[in-house]
């Protein structure tokens, strides 16, 4: 159990996040947002702003900071601000005021008068369900609609009709936002070498690609630095409006420019999570074996149609053994801010629907909900021959049930004084993914080593994991390894997204270490070197032969070098043709609901996870308990209220509720550790996202157990539980 290497820096305020970089002469930009959801800007009166104290520049679609299309190799095109007079959502960045101080910029920005040719806005997701569109493309290029049918079965309807027990319901999940603690921000500075930008981001090299294309400069002239990222969750995968505007304004004004979004601005000027509506029909035989599973999903999206939240593809496609499966995905484009990846995109809202439906089926069958899930435990995704590489979901349930006291659960909950108490459970799964990554490993003459890659640690613990895997691979103590992240000058280190970073960067680290040790051995035995011509071995940071040994530092010094460097790359490959990969988990939640006033509060939680090898239990536990808290938040708190005008009614942390400490009980996290070396040599799968998956359903199922009330939407609030 290793503590976070950067923990002391963070808790003492010494970790420099993007906006903490302040250079002499820095200007401050404040973004202006639209106050209509659809239309064209016909005029912007910036006279007052331009003459306000300290103001040096006001940029709008009428007085534009030129930006080209921003493109990255992973995300394709990314929206750049101020290039159009069209407004597609309320709170869209339409200007930036740059001044000597932040306060001057903000005060001047508030004087900008905007005139719109306003058009009616389409903002209701539920109204749009009837006319939902086919989405352009779903993750992995899967078809929007697909079926797996048993031999002789004509359609999913037939399979459902032939099922002795059927539950068929529609579930809704709210529009959400990542709103990470560190608001989107950037400090940009130009010099002869080009642009240096300090901005929290999930992949420095992708941000560099986006900025270089948008600014029309060579990729080598853009350096992105983000050693610390104050939370991202998918919302910092792409360059933000703050990043583009800081970079472009700094170039135009020839001074460093810092742009920090306010908390309110983060809600609309950066993308959030879609609302979803999901109809699920489950057909089973009397023993609880699934005969048919139908999951039809619709998600909201911005008018740019740039993202679809793949709830059925992310869950029902793979989760249970069923002879007949049908899934579909549609979307409702609205005049709302764009949506994007947010922690467990697809899986989080999808699992609310699927795992609520499984609970409903268990009740219809009068069967224990765990038993129902185990009876439908799969060895491979339906209709696929590629078996799960390593799956111990049954063990997760067994251990979880024992630790949580599941045997004491009654089908109708129990009472504790003025409170009704219930228990709920749900399955969690998250695909085992990996991105190509390159890691640079360096031996230094002072007997320390450095392991570096361009990836990011947005609070996940990757920096610590990098040191641990580096130490293990180089066979030296972790305190001799300096991990380095968050710099586009380092080799591309994948993306801190999709729960991939440990497996991607970790595997590449192993390759880089082998290569580095190889080079060290070559150096040791080369002509004139201390071990010339000998057969040497490497162990514990030393080169050995003939009963003699030298540390790598000694060897470097003896050969007149300061360091030795090697890179190693790793990417997913052949294994994808042999197995299916996923992490698994079982979530347990206990809630209490007040008999009279009906507040629902979580009183106990336990998650048991099968995520392959756990490299560092402490940071992994933190990831998972953090994810589980997200699940409680989604279940009971989070939801953006979108007004007919397209305005977000609660776009701040006073109105957009997330749990506070008093809402969160002690959280149990337990790992069953089965290294999955079919996935990667490292044996680790992701832990970043699976923690949130299933929790909202487990909460809803526990509430049902306590009260008998089934709520098929989240967040679940007091009024949903006032039955009479």
């Amino acid at each position: 159990m290793t503590s976070r290497i950067d923990g002391p820096l963070k808790v003492t305020g010494q970790a420099k996040y993007g906006a903490d970089n302040l250079f002499p002469d820095t200007l401050h930009g404040y973004i202006v947002l639209s106050t209509v959801a659809n239309g064209e800007i016909t005029a912007m009166d910036v006279t007052a702003a331009k003459s306000a104290p300290g103001v040096v520049g006001v940029y709008t679609p009428f007085d534009v900071l030129k930006l080209d299309k921003a493109v990255s190799s992973v995300f394709g095109e990314t929206w750049v601000p101020l290039q159009t007079k069209e407004v597609a959502y309320y709170g869209q960045p339409i200007g930036v005021v740059v001044a000597e101080t932040y306060e001057q910029a903000r005060d001047a920005a508030m004087t900008v008068e905007v005139t719109y040719d306003e058009k009616p806005a389409v903002t209701s997701f539920t109204d749009g369900l009837a006319t939902a569109e086919e989405p352009p493309e779903i993750r992995g290029g899967a078809p929007n609609e697909m079926s797996v049918l048993a031999d002789g079965v004509e359609s999913i309807e037939d399979a459902l009709a032939a099922s002795p027990v059927v539950v068929d319901n529609t579930y809704f999940t709210a529009t959400q936002h990542h709103t990470p603690m560190e608001p989107h921000s950037a400090v940009a500075r130009w010099d002869a070498a080009g642009l240096t930008i300090y901005s929290g981001n999930q992949a420095a090299h992708l941000q560099a690609e986006e900025l270089s294309t948008a600014l029309g400069v060579d990729r080598s002239q853009v350096r992105c630095i983000n050693p610390f990222v104050g939370g991202a969750f998918g919302g910092k995968a792409r360059t933000s409006a703050a990043g583009f505007l800081a970079a472009a304004a700094a170039r135009a004004l020839d001074r460093p420019v810092k742009v920090v979004m306010s908390r309110e601005q983060v809600f609309t000027a950066t993308a959030g999570r879609a609302a979803t509506a999901q109809r699920i029909a489950l057909g089973a035989d009397k023993d609880g074996k699934l005969i048919a599973l139908r999951h039809d999903s619709v998600s909201s999206t911005g008018m740019d149609r740039s993202f679809v939240e793949p709830t059925s593809h992310g869950t029902s496609r793979e989760w249970y053994a069923t002879k007949n499966l049908h899934i579909s995905q549609k979307m409702v484009p609205l005049n709302i801010p764009p949506v994007t990846y947010m922690r467990a995109p697809g899986e989080a809202p999808g699992s609310f629907a699927l795992e609520s439906a499984m609970d409903e089926l268990a009740i219809a069958l009068n069967m224990d909900p765990i038993e129902l899930r185990l009876r439908n435990n799969s060895t491979a995704p339906p209709g696929k021959d590629l078996l799960w590489s390593s799956k111990h979901l049954d063990e997760c349930y067994q251990i979880g049930a024992m630790r949580f006291g599941w045997a004491n659960r009654s089908p109708h909950g129990h009472e504790d004084g003025d409170w009704l108490v219930g228990m709920g459970t749900a399955t969690a799964m998250f695909p085992g993914l990996r991105f190509p990554a390159t890691v640079r490993a360096t031996f230094k003459a002072d007997d320390t080593a450095e392991v570096g890659t361009g990836g990011a640690d947005p609070g996940t613990g990757l920096l610590t994991v990098l040191a641990l895997v580096g130490a293990e691979s180089l066979d030296i103590a972790p305190d001799r390894v300096t991990p380095v992240l968050g710099d586009s000058a380092l080799p591309p280190g994948g993306l801190s997204g999709g729960s991939t970073a440990t497996a991607s960067a970790g595997s590449a680290t192993m390759v880089a270490a082998v290569e580095l040790i190889d080079q060290l051995v070559k150096l040791a035995t080369s002509a004139g070197a201390p071990f010339e011509g000998l057969e040497v071995t490497y162990e514990g940071g030393r080169v050995l032969a003939d009963g003699r040994s030298m540390t790598f530092g000694e060897l470097l010094r003896a050969t007149g070098r300061t360091e030795l460097t090697a890179t190693g790359s790793s990417a997913p490959g052949e294994e994808l043709t042999k197995h299916s990969f996923s992490s698994f988990g079982a979530q347990f939640v206990e809630v209490k609901v007040h008999k009279l006033t009906r507040e629902a509060r979580v009183t106990r939680m336990l998650g048991v996870f099968d995520a392959g090898r756990i490299i560092n239990e402490k940071t992994a536990r933190s990831q998972l308990s953090g994810g589980m808290i997200w699940g409680v938040s989604a279940a009971l708190h989070e939801g953006i209220e979108i007004e007919p005008s397209g305005r977000f009614a609660n776009a701040d942390l006073a109105g957009y509720l997330v749990p506070v400490n008093a809402d969160i009980p002690d959280i149990g996290v337990h790992f069953v550790q089965y290294p999955d070396t079919l996935h990667s040599d490292l044996g680790a799968k992701g832990v970043g996202e699976i923690g949130v998956v299933g929790v909202a359903a487990a909460v809803a199922n526990a509430i049902h157990n306590a009260t008998g009330i089934r709520v098929r939407h989240i967040p679940i609030r007091i009024e949903d539980l006032l039955d009479s």
């Binding site: 903000r106 708190h637 006073a654 007091i718 006032l722």
Partner: protein, 317 residues
């Protein structure tokens, strides 16, 4: 925030001789200034004024600048007041915020706080966005066509239940008013929230002695366990002797445009046996006259439930 002039008078007389907006803990004022909702030209920092002291010898007397936490933790303070304070805001805010400022805090209506939307309270005559908008948190009692915003203070609900008074000072003298009568319902003039006259300063809060208020409680129902305003709340004090309710005080928050004394509920309790049945019967009239809005049809039911819960818990206190 607009540039403003800041002075810090060091005596009540000096403060009353200057024109400006009083700054106590600043947790409402500075917040609203940052949002451009309040744009005072001149701000008078009153923290140096001698408006301090908690005296519980004959009733409760609080200097207007006493901080919420200090009052809450004072041993002689009736439970309903401490409890209302401790369920307010957060530890940090309670360390800063004064009792005087608390009583003068502005509504949390999201439209009041957003200068880009119409709001009669912020800009008279501009319209009320909440009536057709996001109004789940809004009031069902004491509303008008002009405004449906709640008064957001918790402790004011407890104070109104206990017949508290406030002392107001101005350059022409001082006066004492009952807190209940001090607050106004919005009517046609939602911008006027109370009877404070221009330049008047709250110097003291007084709660008359009420021994049985030691048996009192404040129940706050909200969407999370801490750091959130009331969806509905109830302050209750009960004088129960030999199983009978001799006297009762009941007021509600989170549901009305001002702290809402429930005198009819009190009447229905007096003389009755202290049983859940009595509590339910008395509470059944708590929401009489309520006008729910599009998103808070549940509030009448929640109000009645909250009152029953507070009476049950109060009877155990």
């Amino acid at each position: 925030m607009r540039p403003f002039e800041l002075t810090a008078p060091d005596s009540v007389e000096a403060a009353l001789s200057e024109q400006g907006t009083f700054l106590a803990g600043g947790t409402t004022l500075v917040d609203l200034m940052k949002l451009n909702v309040l744009t005072p030209q001149r701000v008078l920092d009153i923290n140096e004024l001698p408006l301090r002291g908690i005296d519980t010898s004959d009733g409760l007397r609080f200097g207007a600048l006493e901080r919420m936490n200090d009052i809450a933790h004072h041993p002689g303070v009736y439970p309903v007041i401490s409890s209302a304070l401790l369920q307010s805001a957060s530890q940090q805010l309670r360390n800063m915020a004064s009792i005087g400022g608390n009583l003068m805090q502005r509504t949390r209506c999201g439209y009041f706080r957003d200068v880009n939307t119409p709001c009669n309270k912020r800009k008279p005559g501009s319209g009320c966005s909440a009536i057709t908008g996001d109004n789940r948190m809004h009031a069902i009692l004491g509303t008008s066509d002009a405004c449906v915003a709640t008064h957001a203070s918790d402790v004011a609900v407890a104070l109104v239940a206990l017949d508290a008074q406030i002392t107001l000072a101005s350059s022409t003298g001082t006066r004492t008013v009952k807190l209940d009568g001090f607050y106004r319902v919005p009517g046609e003039t939602p911008e006027v929230e109370n009877d404070l006259r221009p330049g008047e300063l709250i110097t003291e809060v007084f709660v008359p002695k009420l021994d049985w208020a030691r048996h009192s409680t404040y129940v706050k129902v909200r969407d999370r366990q801490s750091y959130e305003f009331a969806l509905c709340s109830a302050a209750v004090a009960l004088d129960i002797q030999d199983g009978r309710i001799v006297d009762a005080r009941v007021a509600a928050g989170g549901v009305a445009t001002k702290p809402w004394r429930l005198a009819a509920v009190e009447d229905a309790l007096r003389g009755e046996p202290a049983t859940v049945r009595t509590f339910e019967q008395a509470a059944s009239i708590a929401a009489d006259g309520a006008k729910p809005l599009s998103a808070n049809a549940f509030k009448p039911s929640l109000l009645k439930r909250t009152v029953v819960r507070a009476l049950i818990e109060g009877s155990r206190a």
